[in-house]
């Protein structure tokens, strides 16, 4: 495990991604209340729809975003989002 660090610079966005974890994001849609913290903390993978509910990338979380993904998970007041192997849920 690498030490939690400041956001690493991987070159221009989308280029030079060093690796991809086996983890992906999943949202419990019944719990989710659209607070929106996740999208603020992980805009690279989460945006909000017109009513503030997350639209989450189904891609695996790249290594350089893992810490941010975990922070987004920890920030959810409803514990509605998770990052896990095949974390995708409906």
């Amino acid at each position: 495990m690498s030490e939690p660090s400041a956001r690493r610079w991987d070159g221009p966005r989308g280029v030079a991604r060093v690796g991809t974890s086996r983890l992906s994001l999943g949202v419990d849609r019944i719990r989710c209340d659209g607070r929106g913290y996740c999208a603020e903390l992980l805009p690279e993978m989460i945006r909000l729809d017109d009513w503030g509910y997350p639209i989450v990338s189904s891609e695996r979380v790249p290594d350089h975003l893992l810490d941010h993904a975990r922070r987004a998970v920890a920030a959810c007041p409803l514990l509605a989002i998770r990052v896990a192997e095949d974390g995708r849920s409906r």
Binding site: I30, D49, R90
Partner: protein, 403 residues
Amino acid sequence: MSFPSLLDGPDLHGGAEPATSHLARLGLNLLSGSELIDALDQSDLRGRGGAGFPVGRKWRSLAGRQGPRVVIANGAEGEPLSFKDRLLMQARPHLVLDGAVLAAGAVEADQIVLYIGREHSAAADAMLHALAERPARERGLIRISRAPVAYVSGEETAAVQFVNRGVALPMSVPPRPFEAGVRGRPTMVQNVESLAAAALIARRGGAWYRSSGTLLVTVTGAVARPGVIEIRLGTPVAEVVERAGGRPGSIQALLLGGYFGGWVAADDAWDLPLHPERLRATGHSLGCGVVAPLPVDRCGVAETARIVSYLAGQSAGQCGPCVFGLGAIAETLRRIAIGLSRPDDLARLDRWSAELPGRGACRHPDGGAGLVRSALGVFADDFAHHLARRGCTAARPLTAGVA
């Protein structure tokens, strides 16, 4: 071998077939347990509730799990256009019971729940009566549970939650029912027509179903004789519409698969094979087997607005994207239908319907979004007319079809 198969036997309107007639006609099952699961794999039977999941694979996923297991025979037919499940339970209850008992045997379940829509009184009566004719060891396994009248009641996690605590609302997955369902036990939720088909495969084998299998479709809408008919797998849409007394010239489009299915322009529809996999390969869905022609004098925009309004109203109300997304889509469609569109309405419908799929605990929002996307394509000219405030090509007043 014989056709029809599921609905073979005595007059369909003469009430439920008694056990004696059922046994005399079909005899006992030849295959059971793992042999039957192998035959189901070979048959390529797909679930007939709407999702079309391979039945053999579903049974296998249960058979490999630990501890006591449960089978739910799903006869909660919430789709307003579909009548095939209730007809089957009403007329051929023993075929459904055979399938449920075989399923329980194959996956080693010691409990079977017949989950029947509360509105399907005749079907529930027939099943109850048939149950009394079964051997005591089977009766001991089986109980009947009556599902609330709602579109989502038949969704598999809703069925599980209703059996567990009397609330027929979908649940977040995982865990899926096959992992943890009724009282936390691995649970198989299988549509009653799928079970009935499995009971025939147990007698005639997987190869028979693959070559001569049948399915039930409900034909409704612009036809002279709406109702449930049994067809061979792969029968073209045109033949089904013709059997129900529809005239191709009077039909502009067809709703295939029910409210979770999609619109197809009539000229593109006639040759489509009613077969789960072959239809999917053409980009359409067999769903629960609804074939509903729309006559030329009805407005596809208004009809879609009516259906999506219904679906939005039937949302369980648990997930934001479904409540707000489907609700906004329904409202926008209604405005367009009555000539009160705004300039960017089409772009919004396109974006919203693209953003919805996969964002509910169940597939309710996916179903509504798919229907809307098909409508935007098939009724593109009508949408353009409505947006230009010229009304549509249908002869009726615009407000007529709007709920």
